[in-house]
Symmetry: C4
Subunit: 217 residues, 4 copies
């Protein structure tokens, strides 16, 4: 009895540090996005209307900031949702989680690419890379789900398997193919590519809220 | 009985991660402000008095650093105060919290704008955006309070509703209108705009200390 | 009985978040120091010896990085030591803590000043500001100790007052005056100023280790 | 009995904050690596193929990003593994941990060096410093293990000593000598140097997974 208790405590502690580390990475990656919002350099004799115009011209930066912020936030909410169902960790889960974190920390880079090149003829390359990053994130998310349910769900809380499977199906059926579509659409229309990425985080947010409020599936 | 306990523990864990993630974002946003304090670039043959002068000329940076630091800190203290009263989270709260974090992470950008343009004719635009950011923060804070008390206070600790309502009234009556006034005053006088923003964090700090010490309302 | 327990748990949670937020700020401030280590910009045809030389010339950066790192680390160990003795927080403590965090987040700025100007005639100004920052940190630390013991030690664990008083005496007798001396010595000799700052974190580390190992006072 | 319990709780809390602070530093250092991925500056009339080419030319940045990311991640997993075995901390452990964190926070700097100079004749200097950083990390890791087992394992959980000793042997026999070899090989072949660093994190990851799954030694 005492041994079991000790094991439980130790398991809780283990998940706790993994979550703390992941929270740290998510929260830093999401906060570093602000460094891509650059102060326009105008002459010291500039006027207020000139500053407003210069700031307005930077709208791709704000758009990319918003989309990246909410995509990382949504991914954090999903991460949070998965770890509520976990009771133990193992090394496979640690490294699946590490791969997801790798892609999340990289998000500020494609975001800066889009902010810099969205209004140039190179927009298609920037948007393909941007959407491609989200393809990799959704693959990493699927790998995390697979790691979570491996060893016959030994790492999961009781009765958590159906929820993990539901998330995995959603990822296979919606997330991965649509982000892939966004990446492939970029050469045709960078705007369509971004629109799909934006639509997806709106969908995840609203879809998830409905379920949580008991109105969804 | 066991089920209730399990539910409680799981709820505690859920709030815990939300607070950990929020603490991460608040603490990074507040620390990134230092990146707006730039080392002056002088020639290598420069003298100490020249460095003192160059540093003194950057006073708008220090002023903006201080005001932003204490505004974010005050917002964190408020966030801390709200979550002491929470027992559960739901998706609406997660996203209301996410919106608040979005605006908090953005604060270094308007701070850098004020630091760069306060002593130019474009100061009014910079200060309007700066105060405008705080308007959005106070709206986001009100939305968090509304999300906290929704579902008839089901998410709150017992007897916490009056405190949430008091904070909401304070936000409607003081925070939002005064920050809005600061934003609208910027075209007339950038200094008045900044003075209102500064006065508000001083007021929040002192007002809150009085209440906490039992000397306030 | 149940009420007391509930109160205790709530108090523990409160201190917990304050520590988590502070840990976040300390850990970010300490990590941002690396941004002051700049990659030298040499031509693409540069050779290995040229890169070694360019890196060697940057030694004031490494020196400032080390001193700032260990001073922040020492301050975190002290913070950790104080909060082990705390059982409750109040708003005065929150804001004393906030002031300490303000100065800690600012450390990368004077560090960059020293790194940039240590080998120029403006070194005295840079070193005076650097040591001056540590004066303010030691004052903020004293204020935190005062906030910790106020209300007749109501916030402290039983029997913790002597330890708080010992730390306060150490701060009044050693920390504040010696950092002040370092700041005042800067115009005479920037090197003496830095040497005092370096000596102090070495002293804090060794002094503290001795006490912890039971060999000290 | 009550006293023992109180002591246990306090010890748990102490380790908790040390882990939280370390997690903060690890997660920030790992996330700051993204700042070394620079958006290429091309003219506004640039085309998509030109952007793809410019991005492809930056491959040393991506390579250095990946290697540094997984080396820090592996180090975090090791840190996590050690602290699962700890029950108490003392000042020696705090400072051994502090030294490890110092080197970890510095990693973005040699990473940027490699990214900048890998395709220049100065690559040997950059790679020697890069591998040299990992030598120091492995020494710091050994010091942490030594601090963990000192005082006759008083700080450790029961039966944890063999695991600490196994890790220490692995560090002496594999980590330190191979990273040292990588540093010394850099003047002969920067590529060999990097290959050894890459091979090592792959080895740590796979080796550790096997053991954790019960298939290893």
């Amino acid at each position: 009895m005492t041994t079991m208790l000790a094991a439980d405590t130790s398991a809780a502690k283990e998940t706790g540090r993994l979550e703390a580390f992941s929270d740290g990475v998510f929260s830093i990656a999401i906060t570093l996005l602000v460094l891509d919002l650059k102060v326009p350099s105008l002459s010291t004799g500039t006027t207020a209307p000139a500053l407003w115009t210069a700031l307005a011209k930077q709208w791709p930066s704000y758009f990319a900031f918003l989309t990246s912020f909410f995509t990382i936030l949504t991914m954090w909410v999903s991460h949070h949702g998965i770890f509520r169902l976990m009771r133990r960790t193992d090394s496979a889960l640690l490294f699946a989680n590490g791969f997801l974190l790798l892609v999340v920390t990289a998000v500020p880079f494609p975001t800066a690419l889009v902010a810099t090149y969205l209004r140039t003829p190179a927009a298609s390359a920037a948007c393909a890379i941007y959407a491609g990053t989200f393809v990799v994130i959704s693959v990493a998310y699927a790998l995390l789900l697979l790691a979570a349910r491996h060893r016959d769900g030994h790492l999961l809380a009781p009765h958590a398997s159906p929820e993990i499977n539901r998330r995995l199906r959603e990822c296979y059926a919606i997330g991965t193919p649509l982000y892939l579509l966004a990446a492939l659409a970029a050469p045709l229309s960078p705007w369509l590519s971004l629109a799909i990425c934006t639509a997806l985080w709106v969908f995840w947010s609203v879809g998830r809220r409905d379920r949580a409020s008991g109105f969804g599936r």
